[in-house]
Amino acid sequence: MIRNNYLKNITTIAVICTLLLSAGCTKLDETLYDRITSENFLQTKDDVTRDFLRAFEHCYWSIQGNNLFTVQEDPGDQIMTPNRQGDWFDGGQYQRLHYHTWTPNDGYTNDAWNALYQGVNLATNSLEDLEGITDPEKFSMTQAELDDMIAELHTLRAWLYIRLFDLYRNIEIITKVKGESQGVDQSTPEETFAFIEKELKDAIPKLPTNDDLGANAIGRWTKGGAAALLVRLYLNAKVYTGVDHFNDCAAICQDIIDGKYGTYKLESRWDAPFDYNNSQSKEVVFGFPGSFGLTHWQYTIDMQFGLLSYQIPRYFGFTDFGDANPKFGLQPGRDVDSVEYTFSLGKPFLKFQKYPDDYRLKLYKNLGNSKREGMFLFGYLPYINSSGKQDTVRGNKGSYPLFFRDQVGMFLNAKPGTKIADKESDMNHADHNSGYFMAKYPYYPSDDPNKISSAYAEIRLAEIYYSLAECKYRAGDKASAAVLLNAVRVRNYPAGSPSLYKTDGSQLTDQEMIDEWGREFLAEGRRRTDLIRWGVFNTGTWWDKQPDGDTHTEIFPIGQNVLNSSPQLKQNPGYN
């Protein structure tokens, strides 16, 4: 009997529980704590700004991230990534960059595509977010502020497209990403050229000038920045589409120099465009803002610390991040026995030495008070070690001091000037003494308030001068070219230096033009493009590099992994 009562109670409980279950206990919504979904992300003006800036931050990284610096410099005649006693062999992939023998199975052929297209995707996503704002007042914004952001994102995306176009030529044009999961067919080079040109031309009227923005111009796309991108597009148009646009290029260059897109001015010191205060430099047309704590790593990894041997930061007195790692070095001008090579390309240091009074030729040295001199790192590099004793920069393959030289080989601890028996000098046979290193951006000592805080100068006014000079040179106006080049070069030499070009331009030859581009823009991630435009990328000879059989390596193959996941893509010619 008592059981029956229990049973009754139990039945009641069971019924209640069943009701509970059917109502509350089957809900499977996710509770988010440390994330936000796109639907409720945009709440304030700051959120809009954070969304707007997402692609900018990615693009900052893309100046060197995913091997982008590597693929622009290693195939050229100035910079190398040799096998240094087992370091940086990496399956031979960097050697294949040097020899132009890369295949779609080399990772960087995917990496560059992926990094740039991720930027395109992010910029497009932000564009869709911002273009979806119908009521800017909700965010305490004006329509003009919003329009400015939209125009800047279009320009940023155009910058990415130009780089994709330059590297791969046959690319997808993407203008919508939300809800999309499949890519589109590749556009012809003509279509891509027209698309980028239109994007930039449409954006320019809506963009501010650097004068409008004043001290806040750094990191922003302005009329001048967008016009400079048109310069890049037009300067290389012949390569891209077979149709030259040197006249268009010259016209825009002249307009920029004339201040039609904002006020720009060449710096009077060679290192000023790279110095800690360059965010306010009038030479910087577009730059990514730098800050020691928050953004230095965007370019210190490959572009700065990659161009230094291990202990060189100690020579700078810059110890905040520990030692460096020599991914890159300057290609040698001399063989193992110190005899100058006879080929005309490459030999970057010797090319500088042609004008021996060049300030940049000096050994890099910190002078105190956020000042430096020289650009190159060579010979023994002394420093005061932690025990307060005089020491010298060493490698990681033996404790002898390194003596950096304009040569590649197995010097090990051989004293400078002594002959070594091993005469081999090639990409697979380098030690840690091999090649000069360099520092374009300063490394002030750790106790200097301005250490590693330069903005990255992506577009400098000097490039506009050089581009215009090239247009003039190609049009046969060597005198104008010489004047334009000298306008920049004057800061590299003492007053009245014989190193300046004669104003009749008689010294200017194709080779001199190539060399001068190389001097001014050494390690700025554009050498490959310049060599191609001058027609020597595949035909030229430089250190450990013979001419190629054909020109298919002017563009990279689309990486195998990219092709695998986007089967609609067609491989570039010559890579099948």
Partner: protein, 980 residues
């Protein structure tokens, strides 16, 4: 005739709980029946010898029976125990039945949400009881079942590290990216914390291998289910103590050049010292000890078991250690009218660890032997030259890397016996753990002195919490020869993870270590953000039911269905169904087999089950925005925000289709018992990041269900009583498993394209690229490298290019790579031998893996004369071996099958000698002392050290892609057990 009838009555009683039949006139005898651990045995049969009078024990093991005046002896029997005759004596009898585990018919097997007698089981389940577990001093109780369960691969590539956790994989790899480990069900709570279990507390381990068995756990059943039951209280007061000490000695070492050999072969500069770095970075022996105290008691209605343990273990490296103490209290309470049962389990544990630095052994292998760890002033030397330069002794002694771990498992259940054949149970459980990570490197460390100059400290806290609510009902019905058991249930689980971390640098004093992070000035001075935190959660909800049916104890059918949903799944796929069915035929019950005397048991089984795997991160289907780096805008620094992943509203569980046929047999009067299983498991919709078109997908990969993997294999499990004398017995056990694996496809309707991915990047120096390829229609673990063609006169490695031409390896490209070997063992086996002579027992356990290749990473980087100068190399560089022929640095970094070696090995895994003595003293019941040796010897052709240090579980078996490692050891252990 009469006897038969009584049996029938007893049988009915067994099924229906009918109270004892009252017999007329006689003496009243009462008593208790327990198992050897003192736990009560319910429903044991109590018969008066040579009569038909009998009764059975109650739920708490007690009985009361009227016996005829002339009766002298009772016969006590119960399923799973040896029948025992006891004198009636003064009318109060206490009987302890010995279990009869060698018999197929008498084992109680946990099947998830219930138990079955082994004879009733129709799916593939391997049952291990406490005495099957190997005695090993380890951080994880699962090391004690290594090699014991056919098809269960327990690997630990750092077994001697006191903080290591083994990798567990059942019947081959099952996923691309989601978890590969089984679901642990500890005392009925799914998702139990294995680290919070003292091996001594384990009563039994059931490994649910077949899909039909594990499908009751739905989305978590694919990798198998391991059901662990801990010991329960007894009505008899008992105390148990065990203590052991172990000594670990490095073994199977990689041998490097001595100083003399180093100088003779001109490997580098002589810095004047003479250091055996391997010895210098090692503690030998590393001593560990563990003590366990268990006590139990209570009444027939209420009883408890409490267990306490303390362990202090040191690793063979100079830093690692783990000190832990924990406890477990288990309470059972039956109401006097048997209407309800309440249980309560609480198990707290507190651990303090020092973490090993595996790179110390990398440095020990490679440092120039003429270097010294100390400079002339006796301080730690600053070492800058070598393969990777560091002073490993200084790192181990001066850098603090610790964890403080708190674990708490709690569960309680309330079971209501509504009717005699209907009950309902509510179970609540919580599994909680907290890991506090502590790190500090002092300013006096030479790498700091010569580097940034700043001491660095950090703390992190990671908390994981799982709450569960389960409600089940059981109903049983017997109609003539038909027997039905029904289970229905509901399960709700909530998982939460959260944590924070903080770091800073440049503290005013090294004495503060990581304890006062705010005093560091680095973060404020440099505007660096040193703080982070996270929190995420997920839910799992399920409804499930199961029917077990048998006809005449001959034909068995089990069918189950679980409907389960997870919050992690995409909005379009929240819920799934997981059905299973199994059948068994006890052929031995058929008349036509009754005359075959050598065959005492034979059961044929077949089962089918669909299971899932949802062991992946939270929020992966959603359109989430996250913070990234920083950017300056209008003079203000903003953290930028944007999409953090590609959305996938179709994201769902991985689905496994499991098919298993099996045979259980007993031969020669149970002298040989065993099982055979053949399984085919197809895992579909494999979870993992899949490369998607970029553009337009914002990220290059989407977390998606793509790919199909197939595993099949034959498993055999055998035990045999080879010899059974009065004083001497010899038992043999064997477990063996084959595994065939195929990565079937890597695309589906939605995601198309790649048929392979290259995996396992090999490290610097040389970073030679990926070494394995995961490709459709291939076995996982396939090495995809250059194919070697020997070496040339310049000491260069030669390889075949894709056209078949022989070229120097450094001029080969990725296009010349091909499939050259496989790292997944085809066959694994173990052999256990147990000898008993009077009070002595000796067991010898052998374990091996066969039919696979290991890439000798150590030979590749350090085993040839081409390895870099001023760093030490392995002896193989100069001993005339094939590795000594590769003298040329030009081909040093080319991956080829030149470095593939057969991985096959057989190990003398464990040898244990024990002596047990029973006492009839009132102070002590029994004493056991034992000594064991683990990893005594390895027979192998592999030259890269202990083959056990190379992982064979997971997607990338057969290669270590790091030179950092933890050496294997011989472990000597001596212990004592006391029952009183």
């Amino acid at each position: 005739m009469k006897l038969k009838k009584l049996h029938y009555v007893l049988f009915l009683q067994t099924l229906f709980f009918i109270p004892a039949i009252v017999f007329s006139q006689g003496t009243q005898v009462t008593g208790t029946v327990t198992d050897s651990s003192g736990a009560p045995i319910a429903k044991a049969s109590v018969l008066v010898k040579n009569t038909t009078s009998g009764t059975q024990t109650s739920a708490n093991g007690t009985f009361s029976i009227n016996v005829p005046q002339n009766a002298t002896t009772l016969v006590i029997s119960s399923v799973g125990y040896q029948t025992q005759e006891v004198p009636i004596g003064n009318g109060n009898v206490t009987v302890s039945l010995e279990s009869n585990i060698s018999s197929l018919t008498n084992i109680v097997v946990s099947i998830g949400y219930g138990t079955l007698n082994k004879k009733e089981v129709s799916s593939a389940i391997t049952h291990l009881s406490a005495k099957d577990l190997t005695k090993v001093a380890s951080n994880s109780p699962l090391m004690s079942i290594q090699g014991k369960v056919a098809g269960l691969s327990v690997t630990n590539t750092a077994a001697a590290d006191p903080n290591s956790t083994p990798s567990i994989q059942l019947r081959g790899v099952s996923s691309r990216d989601a978890g590969l480990g089984p679901l642990y069900v500890i005392n009925g709570i799914p998702g139990g914390n294995l680290d919070n279990i003292n091996q001594n507390d384990i009563e039994s381990i059931d490994v649910l291998k077949g899909g039909a068995a594990s499908a009751i756990y739905g989305t978590r059943g694919s990798n198998g289910v391991i059901v662990i039951t801990t010991k329960k209280g007894t009505s008899k007061a008992q105390t148990f103590y065990e203590g052991y000490t172990s000594f670990d000695y490095p073994t199977n070492q990689l041998k490097v050049l001595s100083k003399e050999e180093f100088m003779k072969n001109k490997r580098g500069i002589d810095y004047g010292g003479n250091t055996n770095w391997m010895t210098a970075v090692s503690r030998s022996p590393a001593i560990s000890q563990k003590h366990t105290l268990q006590f139990s008691g209570g009444s027939s209605n209420t009883n408890y078991l409490a267990s306490l343990d303390y362990r202090n273990a040191k690793g063979i490296d100079l830093r690692s250690s783990k000190e832990e103490y924990g406890g477990r209290v288990s309470l059972n309470h039956n109401s006097s009218d048997n209407l309800y049962t309440i249980t309560l389990n609480v198990a707290p544990r507190y651990s303090k660890t020092n973490l090993a630095d595996y790179s110390g052994y990398n440095y020990a292998l490679t440092l120039n032997p003429t270097l010294s760890p100390y400079d002339t002033a006796g301080k730690y030397a600053y070492i800058t030259t070598g393969f990777f330069a560091n002073n490993p002794i200084e790192a181990a002694k001066t850098v603090l890397s610790k964890q403080e771990i708190k674990e708490l498992d709690m569960s309680g259940s309330f079971k209501l016996n509504i009717l005699k054949n209907l009950n309902s149970t509510v179970t609540l459980g919580e599994v909680h753990n907290e890991y506090r990570g502590l790190f500090f490197i002092p300013s006096t460390n030479t790498t700091v002195i010569n580097g940034t100059g700043r001491n660095r400290g950090s703390q992190s806290l990671d908390e994981n919490d799982q709450k569960s609510f389960e409600w089940t009902g059981n109903y049983s019905l017997n109609v003539q020869r038909h027997s039905f058991k029904l289970l229905a249930g509901y399960s709700y689980q909530l998982f939460t993870s959260s944590g924070f971390n903080a770091s800073n640098e440049d503290f005013p004093s090294d004495v503060l270590t990581f304890n006062n992070l705010g005093t560091g000035i680095w973060n404020t001075q440099e505007g660096i953000n040193g703080v982070g935190s996270y929190k995420n959660s997920s839910k799992l909800i399920a409804f499930f039911g199961r029917l077990n049916y048998d006809f005449d104890q001959k034909y068995y059918l089990s069918a189950s269905l679980r409907r389960e949903g997870s919050s992690k799944f995409g909005i379009n796929n929240k819920w799934g169904y997981f059905p299973a069915a199994s059948v068994a035929w006890r052929i031995d019950q058929e008349n036509f087999l009754h005359n075959i005397t050598w065959l005492s048991g034979l059961k044929l089984r077949a089962d089918y089950g669909e299971t899932g795997n949802q062991d992946f991160g939270n929020y992966l289907s959603l359109d989430t925005y996250s913070g990234y780096g920083y950017y300056l805008f209008n003079g203000e620094t903003y953290q930028v925000w944007g999409p953090s992943q590609n959305t996938n509203y179709n994201l769902r569980w991985e689905k496994a289709i499991n098919f298993n046929v099996g045979l259980d047999f007993e031969l020669l009067k149970n002298k040989i018992t065993g099982s055979l299983n053949y399984y085919i498991r197809t895992n579909k919709d494999l979870l993992g990041y899949y490369s998607v078109p970029n553009p337009p997908n914002i990220q290059g990969t989407t977390y998606a269900n793509v790919g199909t993997m197939k595993n099949s294999g034959l498993e055999i499990q055998l035990t045999a009583d080879v010899l059974r004398g009065k004083n001497f017995t010899y038992d043999v056990s064997f477990a063996g498993a084959t595994n065939n694996n195929k990565f079937v496809s890597f695309s589906n309707d939605l995601f198309k394209g790649q048929t392979y991915i290259d995996v396992v990047g090999m490290p610097a120096p040389g970073s030679p690229g990926n070494i394995q390829r995961l490709q459709e229609q291939k076995r996982i673990g396939s090495f995809y490298t250059l194919r070697s063609a020997g070496y040339d006169a310049f000491g260069r490695l030669l390889v075949y290019n894709k056209g078949g031409k022989i070229i120097p390896a450094n001029s080969a490209t990725n296009d010349d790579k091909q499939f050259t070997g496989n790292g997944l063992p085809k066959f694994t086996a173990s052999l256990g031998n147990t000898f008993r002579y009077k009070n002595w027992d000796l067991s010898i356990f052998l374990r091996g893996a066969f039919g696979y290749d290991i890439f000798n990473t150590y030979a590749f980087y350090l085993g040839t004369p081409a390895a870099q100068a001023d760093a030490n190399v392995l002896e193989s560089a100069y001993d005339g071996s094939k590795y000594s022929k590769l003298t040329n640095a030009a081909t040093y970094s080319s991956l080829s099958d030149y470095f593939l070696e057969p991985g096959d090995f057989v190990k003398i895994d464990n040898v244990l000698l024990g002596y047990t003595k029973h006492f009839s003293s009132k102070y002590i019941n029994s004493l056991r002392i034992y000594a064991s040796a683990r990893n005594l010897y390895t027979f192998t052709k592999y030259t890269g050290g202990d083959p056990d240090l190379t992982q064979v579980n997971g997607l990338y078996p057969g290669v270590n892609n790091s030179l950092s490692y933890y050496p294997s050891t011989i472990q000597l252990l001596a212990g004592i057990q006391l029952n009183f």
